[in-house]
C-alpha cells in the first residue's frame, strides 16, 4: 500500500529499493508479496520509469501500460510496500542486515488532498518543457506526469513553485491540495538490504558527430522515435519527419550508433537491434508503403527473439543491410538524409537517401553519473559489478544493458538476493 508521505522521521523496512522503473517496481512488489516490508524510493513524481515512455515491447508489440497497470494494482493493494516519490536517497551507511539511508523528500507542492480533478491545470498560465517527451512539447507547470502516473496526483515543477502566477492554481483547487510553500524534508530509513535499480539513459547522440544528430533535423534517436510513436507523445502517436511534417516513405535505422565503438560505448546495448525492428513495425503499420532500411554490424536477436527477426525479414519492405553507417549528411534541396555505410571488411561504401534516420543509440547506466553508495564496485562504464559481495545489490540496466523481460527477471532475483543479504550476519 502506498503512502503519499510518511509522517515519521524514521521508517523501517526489510529492503530499500531505489528507483521506480520496471526493475525497481518489480523488486519492490516481489519482495512485498513474500510478506517482507519494502520502501520503494523514486526520484521523479511518478513510478514507471523508461518503460512508461515506450509505445510497445518487442516481440509481442504489446503496450507497457498493460504490465504497469497490473504492477501498480499489486503495489496499491499491498500493505508491505511504501512508495516514496520525489525521494532522493542521499547516502547509505551500515552493513548487511543493518543499513541507514538518508532520504530527502523533495516538495511536490501538492498534498494528499489532491484528487487529480485537473482544475489547477486548467487555470495554470505557466508552461514547462516536457522532459517525459524529450522536451518536444510542453506541459503546464502543474502537471500530471502521464496517464498512468502513480501516485495519481498532480505535481508542480519546483522552478515555478514560487512564481506569483501559481497562486491562481492554488485558488482553483477546491480541496486545498496545493501548498506552494512546501519544504524539502529529510527522513531516515532503517533497512536490512538495499537494491539499486536506477536504470539507464540514452547515450548522448550529439557526441557522435559524424552522424549529425542535433545538426540535421531529420536525424533522431531511437528514444525520441518511441515518443513520436506513442499516443501520449508529442504528436499523439503520428510519426512525421521533424523538419517539415512530411509523411514517411523511406526511413533508415542506424544500428550501433556510438555502440561497439571505442570512442563512445565499447559495449553492445543488446536491445537496439530488436528495438529498431520494433520501431520499423511502427512505420510499416502507419505507412503501409514505406520502406524500412536497417544498417547493422551484426543483428543480435538472442533466444526466441530470433523469431521476431525472421518475421521482419519476411516483410519485403523491410531491408537489412550489413554495414556500419559512418557518415550522415543532409540533402539541402529536400531535407532528406544521406546515409553512408561502410562495409567493415571491404571498405566499400554504400550510399542511401532516406526521409529520416533513426540512430539506435545505446544504454548508459545512470550509475555512471550517480554512483551507488557503500563503495559499490563499478566497471569502467559505470555498470555495477555482479556478485562482488560489496555494496548495494543491483538489478536491471545498472548491471548490464538488457530488455524489459530480462530486467524483470533480474529484479525478481534481486528481491531474494536482498532477503538473503538481510539475513547474512
Amino acid at each position: 500500500m502506498a503512502e503519499f508521505e510518511p509522517r515519521e522521521d524514521t521508517i523501517t523496512a526489510d529492503t530499500l529499493v531505489v528507483g521506480g522503473g520496471i526493475a525497481g517496481m518489480t523488486t519492490a512488489i516481489e519482495t512485498a508479496e513474500v510478506g517482507k516490508d519494502v520502501i520503494l524510493a523514486e526520484i521523479l513524481p511518478t513510478l514507471g520509469g523508461r518503460v512508461a515512455a515506450s509505445k510497445q515491447y518487442f516481440p509481442k508489440l504489446c503496450p507497457p501500460t498493460c504490465g504497469i497497470e497490473i504492477n501498480l494494482k499489486r503495489i496499491r493493494s499491498n500493505p508491505h510496500v511504501r512508495v516514496l516519490t520525489l525521494a532522493k536517497v542521499e547516502n547509505v551507511t551500515g552493513e548487511p542486515g543493518n543499513y541507514e539511508a538518508r532520504i530527502t523528500l523533495m516538495p511536490r507542492f501538492v498534498n494528499e488532498k489532491c484528487t487529480a480533478c485537473g482544475e489547477c491545470e486548467k487555470v495554470c498560465e505557466i508552461e514547462r518543457d516536457n522532459d517525459f517527451n524529450y522536451n518536444l512539447d510542453k506541459t503546464k507547470a502543474v502537471y500530471l506526469p502521464h496517464s498512468l502516473a502513480y501516485p495519481f496526483r498532480y505535481a508542480i515543477d519546483p522552478r515555478y513553485a514560487s512564481d506569483e502566477r501559481m497562486k491562481k492554481c492554488a485558488d482553483a483547487c477546491a480541496y486545498g491540495a496545493i501548498e506552494l510553500d512546501m519544504k524539502p524534508r529529510t527522513i531516515t530509513a532503517r533497512v536490512k538490504a538495499v537494491v539499486w535499480c536506477t536504470g539507464w539513459h540514452a547515450y548522448d547522440a550529439t557526441k557522435i558527430e559524424n552522424l549529425g544528430f542535433g545538426k540535421i533535423k531529420n536525424v533522431i534517436t531511437n528514444v525520441i522515435m518511441e515518443r513520436l510513436a506513442s499516443d501520449n507523445g508529442p504528436t499523439g502517436g503520428k510519426i512525421y519527419r521533424p523538419s517539415d511534417g512530411k509523411e514517411i516513405t523511406k526511413i533508415g535505422f542506424v544500428q550501433c550508433a556510438g555502440s561497439r565503438d571505442e570512442n563512445h560505448l565499447p559495449y553492445c546495448s543488446a536491445i537496439c537491434c530488436l528495438a529498431s525492428m520494433k520501431q520499423g513495425t511502427y512505420i510499416r503499420t502507419q505507412y503501409p508503403d514505406a520502406e524500412v532500411h536497417m544498417f547493422y554490424i551484426d543483428v543480435r536477436s538472442p533466444g526466441r527473439l530470433e523469431d521476431f527477426y525472421v518475421k521482419q525479414q519476411a516483410d519485403e519492405k523491410f531491408h537489412f543491410h550489413r554495414g556500419k553507417v559512418a557518415k550522415i549528411t543532409e540533402n539541402p534541396a529536400n531535407g532528406n538524409v544521406i546515409l553512408e555505410a561502410e562495409n567493415t571488411l571491404t571498405g566499400k561504401i554504400t550510399k542511401m537517401e532516406v526521409d529520416m534516420a533513426v540512430l539506435a543509440v545505446g544504454m548508459v547506466p545512470n550509475t555512471s553519473e550517480t554512483p551507488p553508495p557503500l563503495g559499490t564496485p563499478l566497471d569502467e562504464f559505470g555498470f555495477i559489478v555482479p556478485d562482488s559481495g560489496k555494496g548495494v545489490i543491483g538489478a536491471g540496466t545498472v548491471m548490464r544493458p538488457m530488455e524489459v523481460a530480462a530486467s524483470v527477471q533480474d529484479a525478481t532475483g534481486a528481491a531474494l538476493k536482498a532477503i538473503n543479504h538481510g539475513m547474512r550476519r
Binding site: 480533478c117 565499447p266 548490464r400 524489459v404 531474494l416 547474512r424
Partner: protein
Amino acid sequence: MEAKIGCYICKGCDIAKSVDIDKLIGAAKEKKVAICRTHEAFCNPEGLEIIKNDIKNEGVNKIVLGACSPRVFPEIFDFGEDILVDRAVLREHVAWCHPAGDEDTQLLAEDVIRMSVAKVEAVEVPQPLIEETSKDILVIGGGMTGMRAALAAANAGYKVTLVEKENKLGGWATRFKKVFPKAPPYQDLEDSGVEALVELVTRHDNITVKTGCTVDKTKGQPGKFAVTFGDGSEPMTFGSIIQATGWKPYDTKKLDYLGYGKSPNIVTNIELEAMVTGGGIKKPSDNKPIDSIAFIQCAGSRDQDHLPYCSSVCCRVSLKQAMYVRQQYPDAKIYIIYKDLRSPQQYELFYQHAQNDDGLFLTKGEIAEVRANNGSVEIDVEETLLGEDITIKADMLVLATGMVPTTKVDDAPASAEGSEAGSRPTEEGKTEDGKKAAESAEKGAHILNLTYRQGTDLPTLKYGFPDSHFICFPYETRRTAIYAAGCVRAPMDFATAQNDAYGAALKAIQAVEAISNGKAVHPRAGDLSYPDFMMQKCTQCKRCTEECPFGALDEDDKGTPLPNPFRCRRCGVCLGACPERIISFKNYSVRMISQMIRSIPMPDEFDEKPRILAFICENDALPAVDYVGIKRIQYNAMIRIIPLRCLGSMNAVWVSDALASGYDGVLLIGCKKGDDYQCHFIRGSELADYRMENVREKLKQLVLEEDRVEFHELAISDYDQIPKIFDDFLETMNRVGPNPYKGM
C-alpha cells in the same frame, strides 16, 4: 454478521456539477441501503472520517462508494478485511465523459449506483481457505541453476530438497573447463565456480540432496504436493517446485548436412569441451596435434529446418574455445564462420579481446558444403563479406550446436507444441485443449509426472520451452507454484541462469507464503476468494476441468470435477464455463452479475433510450475506459458497464439474462487473444470468443439478430477506440431496433 449497506456519494471532481445527487440517493434507497451520505470529497480526511465513523458506530459493513474509479486511492478506501467496498464509478465513467446536466447522464449515474448496490447485496467478504500446508521447496535438477535456486531458498530459511538424476551434482558446469567472463575487464576466461557451489549446497543444513534420483509422481496441489521418487525413497510433501532440468545438445544425427559423422575430425562444441577437460585437443583421426581448426556457428540453429531460435551462448562459447585452442597451440589457425556474431552487453569486450589474436579469422558467411577427405575438412562458404565464395581447409571442424530444453519431447505432434496459444472449439462445444492435455500427458517429458488432468508437465510455449509468454511477468507458468528456471526456460549463459535461479526461488517462496495464508498468487496476488462448487447439481460436462487455464481441476471417474483450490488463480474461467451455474466465489458469482443486470429500470421501446450492457475485462479494458474519462473523451450514455475478472469468466447465461431483461445489445470487451495474447489468464479472452458460438446459438433460439452481441479485443493502449466501439454499437442498435423482449 448482519449485512448493513452504506452508500456514499462523492460530490467532488465535477460529479455534483454533472448529476443531481439527490436523485442518486433516491436510486440507492430503492434497495435496502441503511445509510446514504454525500460529501465534497470522500478521499479527504474529513470525508473518510464520515465513512469510518459509520463503520464503527453504525455497523456499516458493505460500502457503495459512488466516486472515482477503484484504480484511484484503493489504499485510502481500504477499511480492513471485513469491510466490503464497491466503487460505483461516477467520476471516470459518468461525470468526465458525458454532458453535465443531461437526462441520459443522470439516468446512467443512477444505474451505476443501482448496479453497485445490487452487487454488494449479492456478495460477501471472502474468508481465506487456510489449511495446513508445507513451505518446503523441491528443486528438480542439480546443475548450476538448480543448486543456486536451492541455496538461495535455503539461505532464506526454507527447507529444500534438491533432486538430481545423475549420481553427482554439478550438471554441465562440471564438464566445462572454463566459462566466459561476466566481470570486468571481461577478457579472461573464468572458473564456473561449480565446485564451491556443490560444497555449499551439500553442507547446507536446510538442503537435502538426492542424487541418482528422479521424480516418480507429483500429486496434489501447491502447499501439498505429494512427491514420490524414482529411487524408492520416502515420499515427501512440498509447497512449491522449481524445475531446473536444463538442456541437452541438439541431436547430432541431424547435423549430417554439416558433415557430422563423415569424419571423426568433425565434432560438436560439447565434444571439443570434453577433449579440453580430458587430455587436450588432438586431431581425432590420428591423435596428432592440429595446425588449424574451424568453427561453424549456428550449427542446426537459426534454421527453420532445425532449431529456429538462437541459443544465445554459442558465439561466446566458440570464442572461448578458440582461446583454449590458442593456449594449447600458439600457432594454430582458427576460423570462426558465423551468420551474426552475437556477444551482447559487456561481452562485446570479450569479443574484442578475442580479436586481438592474429591467428583468429572471423568471417560472416553461409555454409554451402562441408567435405571430409584425407584427414582434413573443407568448408565452402558463400555470401561472405568480401563478396566472394571461399573454401576453408582445416584439420578439425567444430560445430557450434545449440540447446534443446529437457522439456522438449522429440517428434511431438504440432498440436502439443504451443499448447498455450491455440486451442479451437470442437463440434461438441468443447475446446481441443482437453484432447491436447491427454496427448501431452502421453507425450510430456515426464519430468514432474504431475497427476493433473491436463498433463504430466508444465505446458510448453514454443520449441518445447515452458517459458513465460509475458514480458512483464517472466515467471508466469500455467501450473501454480511450479516455476521453471535456467536453460529449460530459455537458452542462457551460466551467469544469467543463476540470476534466473534467484528469481524462480523467490517465486517459489512467495507461493508457499501466499498459500499458507489462503491467498492467490499472481496476477490476482492476495485475493482471498476461491471457487465453490455445488456438486449435487454437476452434470459432469467437464467444461470446467478442460477449460481451466491452470489445470486446477481434476476429475473423478464419472467426470465430476475435483477442485484443487491452491492451484486456482481466481480468474473465474470455470464459472464462465459452467452451464449449470454451480460455481461461485463469495464475492463473484453468476448470481451477482445476474442481479446487477436486472437491477436497472428498463425504458420501454417508445422512450428511444436503448440500453447496452458492456462486459468489460477489468485487467486491460476497464483501465482503458478509465483513461477515456481521464482524457474527457465523450461517448453515449446508453452503456451500462459490468467489470469481469477476466472475459473468460463470462457465463453465456448473462447474455440471455440481459436480452431477456430488455437490454438491446451486449458488448464484450477483453484482452487480445491469439499468438501474442495479452490475456492475463492466458486463455480467457479466447474462451470468451469461443463462447460467442453458444451465444449466437442462443440468439437464434430467441429469434434475435446476431448483431445484438459483439466481441472486441482491446489492448489497454487502445483506449481511444472505446468511444467509437460504444457509439458504433449504439448506431447498430438503433438500426436493428429495440429488443422485442423489452417490457416482457
